[in-house]
Each structure stands twice: as C-alpha cells, then as structure tokens.
C-alpha cells in the first residue's frame, strides 16, 4: 500500500507521522529488489544509501525542519551525476565513472529531503526511443498487451525512470528530454511526465547530449506530483550559462486553476492520414474534456511540423558529436590502449560507444564538416527558427496546445531496431516543442485497443509551466486513468 501512494499524500502522511520515512522507503527498496530483475529499470541500486537518507528524513521530520520532499523515494536517471555514485549514461565508456560532484538538479532534490533509490536505466547517452541502446540491457515496460506476454519497450530515452514509477518501485523520478525522452516514455508507461522550458532547470552535472535541446524534467503518477518535483528541480544556477534567472512559481497551486476561459489550440498538422484510430479518438476525447471544463478549442497551424524530425536529426547529432568528443580515454572513463595517441582515441571510442551513438556521432561529424556545414547544419538552424516562429504565432492566439504524445502505444522489444529512421518517427509529436524550447507534458488519458496506455501532450508558452499543469490536471481529472500495469509492486 505504501507503493501506491502519491507523493503529495505520502508527504502529508509523513508530516502527520502516520508512518515513517524508514517504512515508506523500506517498502520501495523491497519493491526494487523484487521487481528490478524483471524490469532492469535500474543500472545501479543504492538501497543502503536510501535507508540512510530515510533515517535522515525521519530525523528532520521529528525536528520540524524537513524539506518538502523529505523521505520521498525517487529514481534518478543515470545521466545526472551523483557524488560518489557511479554514473554511466547507459554507456560502456562511462562504466567505471564515479562523479566527485552532484548535478545541480539532483542536489536540489537532496536539499529538499528526497531519497534516491538508485540510478535509472536509459538509452546510451539518452540517444533512443526504446531504451534498447543501453549498454546495461533493455528495460521492460511494466505493461503488456492484453492476452500477450511479449516484452514491450518502456520508451526512451528515460525508459528506466518511467518503468520504475509505473511499476510502483519509485514514487517519482528524474528524466531528461532532448526530443521526447520524458514525454514518450511517460505515454508508453501510463504515467505523467513534464519537460519544462529550456533554461528552467540547470543542465550542470547532467551528461550532455545536445546542449541546445537537453532539459531535465520529472516523472510521477500524477500531475500534482510532477509539479511538486519540478518545483524542487527548477531554478537559476550560475553554473549553467543557459539557466534562466526567474522565480520558480508554486506549480502545485497552478494545478488547481482549471481551464475556464483558456484557449486551447489544436494544430492541424498533427492530424495525419493513417493516424492510429485509438490515438485520434483519445485526442478528440481530450478536447471535449477541456471544452466541458470551460476551455475554448481553437484550430491553429504549425506549418513546419513535418520538418521537425529531420531538423532534429541534424542539430542533435551535430551537438552530440561535439559533446561526446570528451570521451577519449584520457581523463575519465574506459581506455583501450593503442599504438599511439590517435590509435588510443579511436580504439577507446570504437569499444566504448554503442552502434546508435556511433551513428549519431558520425552524422554529426559529417554535417559539421567543411563543405557541408551550410547545406545541413546552417539550413537546419534556419528551419528550427521557422519551427519556433510557428509556436510563437500559435501562442499569440491560444494559451496552450493539445496533441497526442506518440503515434502509437508501446512497441515490442527488438521492433524498429534495423531501421533508424522508423525508430526516429516515434518522436514526431514531441520533437517540435523541443526544437522550440517550449514546455510539454504527457498525461495518461486512456488505453488503446491492445490495453496499452496512451498519453496526451499539453504544450505551453515558454516559462508558462503553470498553464501546462492546469490543463494537464483537468485532463487527469476527466480521464480518471486507473488502469494498472501487470508488473507492479503489490500485484
């Protein structure tokens, strides 16, 4: 029963001393130990650390100086550097890397009393939509199709973070989203996930993939829980030059605002031929929920939507090829010896990186290379400016947008692995908001014909996470999503 609680309810229960942090965390540690062999949601488990943090939370609660997340057990995506705890980024090349420092975001969660169960599995360097590219094995989605035991992917790249929360192993988790890596796994696993505005959370201490797109965010089983976590994670950090110095509003309070009088946009370009009928139906249902709650539904156009993915697959690999140049076997990480320094670099990187990471580094290297920069990278940056303009124009007419999160529900492990482009198409609805840097949230809204969860995506204006939470809460209330995955604590 501890593992079914929401963070908001658990925090209240801890404050009333209905139960202790030791009991709450202990139940989640047991769940992790019982379920992780099947899920593989954690690369590194830290149960002893979690129990020590639980005891510290109990002491703070008794002393009356506990932070808002005191005693709340979380999973931390293994892309956030955690002081003294191995951080792999899902890659062999960082298999032995123990950061001497804490990322700003995870440090803020610790400041507020959170407990860390361990480091969640992910696609290698966050490059993927299935969690299949992790050097530490795939993650199994806790959900299965009706009448089938085929192992499904949890989505990616934050697949372990999403699976751990869906399976009631963690109450919440951190993720990062570069092109959909929070929203898509949230949708596939039937939980809520928020990618805030670029610049809202510090990127300091997060292993970099594509620096102009990477943004930290939160997963939980409710919108209000995501709001509570983001309130802790967000805020200005002088150590990240793209961190924005704006006050962090009370996101939980924003979830109570409702949508009366809001204008909600429906982008025409997200409705496409051959769309999955379950996804289409759920989208219409979501719009009618918002209309019933007092919102006005407005048709809008985001004309460059269809170019989002291709733009992304130039910009993100280009930035990745530059960011990943640091993994050379000299200062940290795994080294493969070579005849000379160049040979050492080449052998280290050949052995240390997986196939998808190598592919993206090579695409990025090519599009940045002499003679091709203007044709690819500069052109992509211009199309990116047009994508941003689409959103800016739309937000002059509406307060938020509602779209599906993903084109389909979760797919099977191993599907789409032989066709990189087919895999990339998973992110068709999430990439445009990433390119524009605007906030987006996926809320579980229903099941498809196979019994798998589907999410709806709420996209907001830059730094207007409050409206995103308000709209998402109305969807959550109306959807009353109560279906449970087959693999979960207490099942």
């Amino acid at each position: 029963m501890f593992c079914d609680l929401s963070i908001v309810d658990a925090a209240a229960g801890l404050r009333r001393r209905d139960f202790s942090a030791r009991e709450l965390v202990g139940a989640h540690v047991e769940a992790m130990e019982a379920l992780n062999p099947a899920l593989n949601a954690f690369i590194t488990q830290t149960p002893e650390l979690a129990m020590r943090q639980a005891d510290a939370a109990d002491a703070a609660l008794a002393a009356g100086n506990a932070g808002p997340l005191a005693g709340i057990p979380l999973a931390i995506k293994d892309l956030f550097c955690t002081a003294g705890v191995r951080t792999t980024a899902g890659s062999r090349i960082l298999g032995n890397f123990v950061p001497p420092y804490e990322s700003t975001v995870s440090g803020q969660l610790l400041r507020d009393g959170a407990v860390f169960l361990g480091k969640a599995n992910l696609d290698e360097f966050a490059m993927g939509s299935s969690n299949m590219t992790s050097a530490y094995g795939s993650v199994q989605n806790p959900w299965q199709r009706l009448g089938s035991n085929t192992a499904l992917v949890p989505g990616g790249s934050s697949g372990g973070s999403a699976a751990a929360v869906a399976a009631r192993v963690a109450m919440g988790s951190t993720g990062t989203d570069t092109g959909g890596s929070i929203r898509q796994p949230a949708s596939f696993c039937g939980i809520a996930g928020i990618k805030p505005t670029y610049g809202r959370c510090s990127r300091w201490g997060i292993v970099a993939f594509a620096s102009s797109l990477d943004q930290a965010g939160a997963f939980a089983r409710s919108v209000a829980d995501c709001a509570l976590l983001l309130g802790s994670m967000a805020g200005f950090d002088a150590k990240d030059s793209t961190s924005v110095d704006r006050p962090v509003p009370d996101y939980v309070a924003a979830t109570w605002r409702g949508v009366r009088g809001l204008r909600i946009g429906v982008p025409a370009e997200y409705r496409m031929d051959g769309m999955n009928p379950d996804v289409e139906m759920l989208w219409q249902q979501g719009l009618s929920w918002l209309r019933d709650a007092g919102a006005e539904i407005v048709d809008v156009s985001l004309p460059h939507t269809k170019y989002g993915l291709a733009t992304y697959y130039i910009v993100a690999p280009a930035e990745a090829s530059s960011n990943l140049a640091r993994y050379d076997g000299v200062r940290f990480g795994v080294r493969e010896d070579g005849a000379d320094l160049i040979d050492l670099y080449e052998r280290t990187r050949a052995a240390g990186f997986g196939e998808e990471v190598k592919r993206r580094i090579m695409i990025g290297t090519y599009v940045l290379s002499a003679g091709y920069y203007d044709a690819y990278y500069l052109r992509a940056q211009k199309v990116r400016a047009l994508i941003l303009k689409d959103f800016t124009d739309a937000f002059s007419k509406v307060d938020a947008l509602l779209t599906p999160t993903t084109p389909t529900g979760a797919f099977a492990q191993g599907e789409k692995m032989d066709d990189p482009v087919a895999m990339y198409l998973n992110d068709v609805f999430t990439v445009p908001a990433s390119m524009a840097g605007v906030p987006g949230m996926s809320v579980p809204a229903g099941l498809d014909a196979q019994g798998l969860p589907l999410g709806l995506q709420v996209i907001g204006r830059p730094f207007d996470e409050e409206t995103v939470f308000a709209v998402s809460q109305v969807i959550e209330n109306a959807a009353a999503f109560s279906a449970l995955p087959s693999t979960r604590s207490g099942a």
């Binding site: 123990v98 943004q215 051959g274 170019y307 200062r331 990480g333 211009k382």
Partner: protein, 121 residues
C-alpha cells in the same frame, strides 16, 4: 505522419526533388567518405563495418534531405535553445585545488598529471 515521410522520401525520383545545395552526387556517401568521417570522429572502423554504416548513414541523410524543400531565404538561424543572450560572468577564478578529485577517474596518471602514450619521439 511517419509513414508519410518515409513514403515520400523513398518514392522520390531523382530530378523531382528540389535541387540540393551542392552537387547531388556528393549527398550520397561513398565508402571512402564513411572512413574519412570515422577518422574525423576518432572512431576506429573495421573493414566489415563500412558497408553497413554506409547504408545506414545514407538512409538517414536521404531522409533529412527533405529540408531542401523549405524556403529559408532571409531566415536568421536559431543557434540556441533559449531565446536569450548568454549571460557573461566575471573573469575570475572560482574553483581549483582539486587535483585528486579530478584525477580520481583517470585511466592512467603520473603524479598530478593524466598519463597517455608517448606522442613525441
């Protein structure tokens, strides 16, 4: 939408597409170019890897060529994720004296230095 993109790219005949910015033949990577990119990226390739990578990279590059149909005349490129100017900070030493922490993850070290194979004879 996914299916739509794939179909359009695959069905496109040479000559129907808007002209690529450079010589169209240069947009398809040959095996020498694949090796050159790998060398630039400092990733060792075995001979057997080249045909597979060449196919995969060409598939991706063909797909992203769809951007050639967008009119970008006069558009200022968007270089960052945030629509703000990057902040400047004081040019001051704010950290240091942590050689042991920095070297703690080094694959090889010599005293307070990272060690690598000899590069100058």
């Amino acid at each position: 939408m996914g299916a739509v993109i794939v179909r359009r790219v695959r069905a496109r005949q040479p000559g129907c597409a808007p002209p690529p910015i450079r010589d169209p033949t240069s947009m398809s990577l040959d095996s020498a170019t694949v090796r050159r990119i790998a060398r630039l990226a400092r990733i060792r390739l075995e001979d057997g890897d080249v045909p597979r990578l060449q196919g995969e990279l060409n598939g991706i590059l063909q797909w992203i060529e769809q951007l050639n149909e967008v009119d970008v005349a006069g558009v200022t490129p968007l270089t960052g994720g945030a629509q703000i100017a990057l902040r400047m900070r004081a040019d001051a030493v704010t950290d240091g004296g942590q050689a042991e922490k920095i070297l703690a993850n080094a694959p090889d070290r010599a005293g307070e230095f990272f060690a690598v194979p000899k590069v100058v004879e």
